[in-house]
Symmetry: C2
Subunit: 334 residues, 2 copies
């Protein structure tokens, strides 16, 4: 990036990232100014670090831009809010090609636009590895936020977006299997259903979260915050997902770490424990009339001793063990 110089790089990056329709003042001053029409602003920040959240060998600059934007924007949607703006802090080695950074800006801009938002500010620095910190802002349109707390016994738990596809894509990349490009894309460029967040709020969702750590773990956060148990119905999770099941068939007969696993159990494991799909999962009153994109996958029960999340009424003893399911504050978001 040294060839462009710091000012030149910033100008080139900024030119590729439109500020969006909520921006009152975009990149180029000490701060940005973003419209907050309902009198409050929803805000979340997420780190995306080379080696920890992505590998340069697997992901293009564009991919990382999409992924970093999606990670933070999904946190806004999960409150029932409309994303309005991103601020992007970006550091990289001076040896990184300038084109990589420009591709990154394109990915950030594309995903922000898909969410209805723009890029209004940022910071750049040199570092030994590539790192991003993306702050997303949003507006609640006058509604209260949909929190993790609020799920009540009897509520229906429903999800919109893929479950386990990012994990399946990661497994395919690890095994070097180049088929199933949709699953690999789901890992490299997650596509959260942003507009479903405000929709869920309008439908009366009592609690909501985005699937970043894995369905069971994230529902564990909801169950803990709400003081309830959530029971997942495995019979509706996987059977209809022909793509994940086909990938599980291939990987279970490959030479990778999934070799010998039962394909149905592998697909179920991805759906229950795979993170980074950034799909939205919410609890709704049983009377809610859910549009087709919301798939009912479980119910909220009274809390019991021994577990906050159950699968088909029992403890799920998947890889990673119970500690993944036991809740505690999530590190992401607000």
């Amino acid at each position: 990036m040294a060839d462009l110089g710091e000012w030149g790089l910033i100008a080139a990056l900024a030119a590729r990232m439109p500020p969006g329709r909520y921006a009152e003042l975009g990149i180029g001053d000490d701060s940005a100014v973003v419209s907050a029409p309902s009198g409050s602003v929803v805000a979340a920040v997420d780190l995306v670090l080379e080696g920890r959240h992505f590998l340069l060998a697997w992901s293009s600059g564009y991919d990382i831009g999409v992924k970093a934007a999606a990670r933070s924007l999904a946190d806004i949607a999960a409150m029932g809010a409309v994303p309005t703006a991103l601020l992007v802090a970006f550091a990289a080695p001076g040896t990184l090609p300038a084109q990589w950074a420009l591709d990154l800006a394109d990915g950030l801009a594309a995903e922000a636009a898909r969410a209805g938002a723009g890029v209004v500010g940022g910071d750049t620095a040199r570092a030994d590895t590539v790192l991003l910190s993306v702050t997303a802002l949003g507006d609640l349109s006058g509604r209260p936020p949909v929190r993790r707390a609020g799920a009540r016994p009897g509520d229906v738990v429903a999800v919109t977006g893929s479950l386990g596809h990012s994990a399946a894509g990661h497994a395919l990349l690890t095994a070097g299997v180049s088929s199933f490009p949709e699953l690999v894309a789901a890992h490299l460029r997650p596509a959260p259903p942003y507009e479903a967040g405000p929709e869920a709020a309008t439908l009366g969702a009592t609690a909501m979260i985005d699937v970043s750590d894995g369905l069971a773990a994230d529902l564990g956060h909801v169950a803990e915050a709400s003081g309830v148990r959530i029971d997942i119905d495995s019979s509706v999770l996987v059977p209809g997902d022909t793509l994940a099941r086909a990938a599980a068939e291939v990987l279970s007969s490959s030479s990778g770490t999934e070799r010998g696993a039962s394909p149905p159990s592998l697909a179920l494991r991805w759906a229950l424990t795979g993170g980074e799909d950034h799909s939205l999962v919410a609890a709704f009153p049983p009377s809610a009339a859910l549009p087709a994109r919301w798939r009912a996958i479980g119910v909220v029960r009274e809390a019991i001793a021994g577990g906050r999340v159950t699968v088909d009424g029992a403890t799920y003893e998947g890889p990673g063990g119970w500690e993944h399911f036991s809740g505690g504050s999530s590190p992401s978001g607000g």
Copy 2:
């Protein structure tokens, strides 16, 4: 930090950082919700990286917390806005003592509180070095933002807060001179005069910026954005600053890189080119009645060829050369 575990660390950090009076929802959900009473939100992000912005050998965790918070909060004040909240992304090696991270949280919380804000959200991760990305939010109280553009010929340029004290502190630390603890503290823990930002807006400031890159460089940004020249009067910059002059005397006779420099010219160089004081410098109409804390240091002139910032009417040929003064978009903030 491994001894606390990720959840334990986050809970311990969160407990030390109050959300502040603008927080409608703080740490613990997917996003935070912050009051934006005037219907828009001011936002800025800054990176603070080990090795680039600080050294663990010089700075405590508390120092880094103060510095990282001040860097972003000053960008809010420089728009004439009132800081409301911080979101903090933090990554560190697992070997970093947990107490260091707790001290960091204390520093972030203390500086946020000094600005009238709180800490409402964040993210944590592992990394090989310590890195922070702090996003600051603010509210304009119904006023328009004070931008870099807007300075007009005839305006008075005034500053509040120290100039060059951070640079003097850095020089003292580099030279291993342990006297002048106030100057070392100014480098390690900058103390921006936040409340002077909204005050300047109320006084009719036509342009404002915080001194992060150095007075001349930052006034270069203002001059470029405003299409004017700014002339600094060196006779009011240094003579009254007995502390900086005394440090310059000591360092000019020390064995460091400042050895042999003329003390007055060294103090002037710090004041003109030293960054990271995060003082506020603004242009005001000549009729503005400035409170005592605003020191007039220059005037706005018509643009001329050959320079956007002059000192005593002429080009300042300090170390670093003219390119430092020639403007271009600043990387910091919005």
